[in-house]
């Protein structure tokens, strides 16, 4: 269940593709290839393959199919990798009617409808197409166990509680492609209280049933894999808290898009470092540090710089010819290292600067206290103090108030006090938002509360599990990482097969040929968790650590409609009507 393996496999399939009946028309040994992508597949490729990977396969040209300005060059072979949407299909039909290149091999990243294939066949008058294949990667792979669909709530919701029709299709299609790419035919479970999850679960189940013979004809596994669909709204605290691990901090304070970190806004930044790529696949240092918290990260970076310095030292002593030879041999590696050191130094420096100018240290401490302690006079007075502080950004103040309201909605006195404070120096819209936020989550919390009493033993277990994990990482109680996202206890429950059947319902399946009792008995070994409404890197870290501790007894892949930072999550809440 390593998503990078999946990506490598598929990309390799595309770039090394050779059609068996390579038409004699195209010169046999002519191998220069063009790769045509669309808006959807460009990020897929750029996330998982480097320029030099492509060059090695003689792909010397990459272009977009939407680009109508492309020049005719019929000595080239063309590899097309697109998502089967109406728009791209139109482009493809136009392309085939008057082919710019000598031969086409077409790959779709999801299921193609029969009618689409027919239209394609009809417009291929020149018989330029030599291969058509479906592969399934209609999602974006960020870590080896994290994927995102890059769908924003406003794109898939018609209002807070209802899917928009195209959004639902899009989302379920993408999820189906995740399942197909991992060759999994799962039992689908969903957050019973959430209408969104229920609808999506049913849609995915329907799609699986529809395509059972043609696509989902995998070997039966002894333990049925689980697709668990969750709603972001049941755990609103996690995406509201300031994160403290490397990957999530980059996302929060600088922003990552398709593995590219944009440092151009950093003052006095080197020209070469304005846009840097950061991929756990290619960058070993990042792979080691992406889940570390800021303190550990500092140590690691220091270590990294020292080893780098050591290396330069040895390299500076060049006396003999042998030294020169060694130096020249190591030079490319050495240059790569120095680039990497500079990159991480720049990023960490920027993170540190952001933390200071935004007063994150203070904000985060109070946040964490509020979210993990019960109502507490001390915390409240700290909160009030911070709300009156001049230096803290209004955004963080509002967020703090929201977090407080989540945990202490019963305490109406204090809430009133908060509202008074807010009305003093916030715009009416913001105060309005606060009220809406309160009403949005109060409903949920009452339900959760009743569940909570029942699950007391379990949460106790979860705490143990987590303390075990954190002791492994050798972090004593960290003030900034007290809050443990709900996903952690879910994982523990999954591994013990004690996931509540009342809270997480199963989609009725008649066609799966398995009785309900059988399903009940199996401990899941493969699990896909999917968050409607976005997932955080913080949760990705927990899943990753869980996978490490479980050591293949259970494998979990996490996904979400998008990856959210606190800003994005607040914005998406604001946009809700």
């Amino acid at each position: 269940m390593n998503l990078f393996d999946v990506a490598d496999y598929y990309i390799n399939k595309i770039v090394t593709s050779r059609s068996k009946l390579s038409v004699a028309k195209v010169n046999e040994h002519q191998r220069i290839k063009v790769l045509l992508l669309d808006n959807n597949t460009t990020p897929t490729i750029s996330l998982c393959a480097t320029q030099s990977d492509l060059l090695k396969q003689e792909i010397y040209l990459v272009d977009k199919i939407e680009n109508e300005e492309r020049e005719v060059s019929r000595h080239l072979r063309c590899l097309v990798y697109v998502k089967p949407t109406e728009g791209t299909l139109q482009c493809l039909l136009r392309e085939l009617r008057n082919p710019r290149y000598g031969e086409y091999q077409i790959f779709f990243n999801n299921i193609v409808l029969k009618s689409q294939l027919e239209r394609l066949a009809e417009s291929d008058d020149m018989e330029a197409v030599t291969k058509v294949e479906e592969i399934f990667q209609d999602f974006f792979i960020l870590n080896q166990d994290l994927f995102s669909l890059d769908l924003q709530p406003k794109d898939f919701l018609s209002n807070t509680l209802v899917w928009s029709e195209p959004g639902l299709t899009e989302c379920s299609n993408s999820l189906v492609s995740v399942l197909l790419s991992l060759k999994i035919k799962p039992e689908i479970r969903f957050e019973g209280a959430s209408k969104l999850c229920e609808r999506l679960a049913k849609e995915v189940s329907y799609e699986i049933g529809k395509n059972e013979r043609t696509f989902f004809d995998f070997l039966v596994m002894d333990s049925t894999p689980i697709l668990l669909i969750l709603d972001r709204k049941t755990d609103p605290i996690t995406p509201l808290l300031q994160p403290w691990t490397y990957q999530s901090m980059i996302n929060e304070y600088i922003g990552v898009k398709r593995n590219i970190v944009d440092l151009s806004k950093v003052p006095k930044i080197d020209k070469d470092l304005e846009k840097v790529t950061l991929s756990s696949k290619q960058d070993a240092f990042f792979r080691d540090t992406m889940y570390l918290n800021f303190g550990e990260l500092g140590d690691k970076v220091k270590q990294y710089v020292t080893t780098y310095k050591d290396k330069t030292q040895t390299n500076s002593q060049i006396n003999t010819i042998e030294d020169i030879k060694n130096f020249i041999e190591k030079y490319p590696e050495f240059r790569k290292l120095s680039g990497n050191v500079a990159k991480h130094m720049a990023i960490v420096g920027e993170l540190d600067r952001q933390l200071k100018i935004r007063n994150i240290w203070e904000v985060s401490e109070i946040e964490q206290n509020l979210s993990s302690h019960d109502a507490n006079e001390e915390d409240f007075s700290e909160l009030i103090k911070l709300l009156q502080s001049e230096t803290v950004d209004k955004y963080y103040k509002l967020k703090l108030a929201c977090i407080y309201s989540l945990n202490n909605h019963a305490n109406s006195d204090k809430i009133r006090q908060l509202v008074e404070l807010l009305t003093q120096d916030f715009s009416p819209e913001d105060v309005n938002f606060f009220h809406r936020f309160k009403s949005l989550f109060n409903r949920h919390d009452k339900k959760a509360q009743s569940n909570h009493d029942k699950d007391d033993i379990l949460s106790e277990l979860a705490r143990r599990f987590n303390s075990k994990m954190s002791s492994k990482g050798n972090t004593a109680e960290n003030v900034y990482m007290q809050h443990i996202p709900e996903i952690s206890s879910l994982l523990t429950e999954l591994s013990k097969n004690t996931l509540s059947r009342d809270r997480f319902k199963t989609v009725d399946i008649q066609n799966h040929g398995m009785t309900q009792t059988q399903l009940r008995n199996d401990i899941p070994q493969d699990v896909i968790l999917f968050f409607v409404g976005g997932v955080t890197y913080e949760e990705a870290r927990l899943v990753h650590e869980f996978n490490e501790t479980m050591n293949s007894r259970m494998r979990v892949v996490l996904g979400g409609t998008s990856i959210v930072s606190t800003n994005q999550y607040m914005d998406s809440l604001r946009a809700m009507k």
């Binding site: 269940m1 399939k13 030099s52 008058d125 020149m126 018989e127 294949e133 060759k183 002894d222």
Partner: protein
């Protein structure tokens, strides 16, 4: 015995959970109390068997224990055990961590492969039937080692892909049949039309009544080729759907008979000279020959609609373009590929013999390596260096070609990067060669700076620059053909006949190219 559970969390789990209502950590059956669960674990999941034999310490074999358990629960069918590895005190090691097995770390057989493991290294669960084979549907849960778990069929399967090519071809052929019929009809009409027109032209050309007769006969002929649509019934252009009027005149396509407009912007129909048309579709069986009958000079043209034009000619243009000989960048690139093929085939042999040599000298530092081997190695190295030089030169030549369009410019850039990466990657073993094998320093090709200065001078009708370029090209070509010839010899020995065929073809092309360059150079060639 419970402590043998699937994970180390189990004991704490059980102690916290209500003791009245325990469930088996493996199959989740519910039990009233711990004793019942214990018994269940021992019997159903055979937790005690090896531990028991360890605990009793003496010669009680696994089998002996098994019969005892059997008698205590004779109704339960037993899992096959004949393949189990027997525990030998102080000798048996855990299959995963290699520690000697003892009471402390436990000794359990993997239920699938039967090998012994310590408690820590039997973490996984698998469904087995009674003869210990993987049975995903009807089997029961047993614990197994990591290897057995990972190797169960379909465990790490990923990457579903469905090849639609055949389905697509079938669909395409279905659609194609209709289209082919229609195309055949059009082609027939086209041939008849051209033949008729040329005949008419030959008949009346030079005659005084040419204008009078020709037009008349032409329209008669055209109407026999295809029936014309009735003018009056058509109000809109068949292609662009614009209404006809004073400004937009009606025209008949001479092949399909449809009525279309002649708007120059939308190109619904065009008046095209027949000479041009015939040369664009030269594969059709016309009665007249383009050259012999000098059709291109006949001042007769026909009106065709854009549909018929694209049906008749776009496909022809496409296949013509594809079959065109490679030019410029593409040809150069092909030579580069040939050289890289040579390098790729030479390099492994070189590395092998180099490693052998290194091994020899390593074993016996005083022994002087066999001069024959050394020579062979040096020869190989020389050959490789030459190939690299050639590759480099070709790359440079390719980059110097003036790109015809944007695509070619992009291609040049990419090829440049790719070839640099290729050389960097492949040349490494040559660099790390010991000094004894280094008769000459690695050659580097130099640019010729004096070319620019002298480019003004003329020798006969070629500039010095041109001569130099041609000479260089000749050199490269000769080198290339030499390399390919020697590779062909090698391949012949190795009986790799298929590759020889392609190489031979390349060689022929090279020879013809050498010939043309030589003839161009004439007296300026090498002495």
């Amino acid at each position: 015995m419970v402590s043998n559970g699937t994970s180390s969390d189990t004991p704490s789990n059980l102690s916290i959970m209500d003791l009245e209502n325990v469930s088996c950590p493996i199959c989740l059956k519910k039990f009233d109390n711990l004793q019942a669960l214990n018994k269940h674990l021992d019997v159903e999941h055979e937790f005690n068997s090896n531990e028991g034999s360890l605990g009793s310490n003496e010669s009680s074999t696994v089998n002996g224990k098994a019969t005892k358990v059997n008698s205590s629960a004779d109704k339960v069918q037993k899992l096959k055990r004949s393949h189990w590895e027997k525990l030998q005190k102080g000798i048996s090691h855990c299959q995963a961590c290699g520690r000697t097995l003892n009471n402390e770390i436990g000794a359990i057989n993997c239920k699938k492969c039967g090998k012994l493991h310590c408690r820590r290294h039997l973490p996984n669960m698998i469904k087995l039937d009674l003869s210990a084979r993987y049975e995903p549907e009807k089997g029961k849960w047993y614990n197994c080692c990591h290897d057995c778990f990972v190797n169960k069929p379909g465990y790490n399967d990923y990457g579903k892909a469905i090849d639609l090519t055949q389905k697509f071809f079938k669909l395409r052929n279905m659609k194609k049949e209709d289209k082919n019929l229609r195309l055949l009809q059009l082609e027939n009409r086209f041939v008849r039309l051209v033949n008729g027109l040329v005949t008419l032209y030959k008949k009346y050309n030079g005659s005084i009544i040419y204008n009078l007769k020709m037009n008349n006969e032409m329209s008669k002929l055209e109407r026999t080729v295809t029936p014309w649509r009735d003018d009056r019934s058509v109000l809109y252009c068949n292609i662009c759907s614009e209404p006809f009027g004073l400004l937009l005149r009606k025209h008949h396509c001479r092949l399909c008979g449809m009525i279309v407009c002649d708007n120059t912007y939308r190109n619904c129909s065009n008046q095209i000279d027949i000479g041009y048309l015939v040369s664009a579709a030269s594969d059709l069986p016309f009665d007249y020959d383009t050259e012999r009958d000098s059709l291109s000079e006949i001042p007769v043209s026909v009106r065709l609609c854009s549909h018929c034009i694209s049906m008749l000619f776009v496909g022809r243009k496409f296949s013509k373009d594809v079959e065109m000989p490679l030019s410029g960048i593409f040809a150069k690139y092909e030579s580069m590929q040939n050289i890289s093929k040579v390098i790729d085939s030479l390099l492994p042999t070189f590395e092998d013999s180099l490693n052998n040599l290194k091994l020899e000298t390593f074993r016996d530092s005083k022994r002087v390596p066999d001069p024959k081997n050394l020579n062979e190695l040096a020869r190989l190295r020389h050959k490789l260096l030459n190939s690299f030089n050639l590759y480099n030169t070709l790359t440079r030549q390719l980059i110097c070609i003036e790109p015809r369009n944007h695509v070619e410019r992009q291609l040049q850039n990419s090829i440049k990067t790719a070839s640099a990466a290729y050389i960097n990657e492949k040349i490494l073993p040559l660099k790390s060669l010991p000094a004894i094998l280094n008769p000459e320093g690695p050659k580097t090709q130099k640019d010729e700076p004096e070319v620019k200065k002298l480019s003004q001078l003329m020798i006969e009708n070629m500039t010095i620059k041109e001569v130099k370029e041609l000479r260089q090209e000749l050199m490269v070509l000769k080198e290339q053909s030499y390399l390919i010839e020697s590779t062909i010899q090698d391949y012949k020995k190795q009986r790799r006949l298929e590759e020889i065929v392609t190489l031979n073809k390349n060689l022929e092309e090279l020879h013809s190219r050498i010939h043309t360059v030589q003839s161009k150079l004439g007296d300026n060639g090498f002495s």
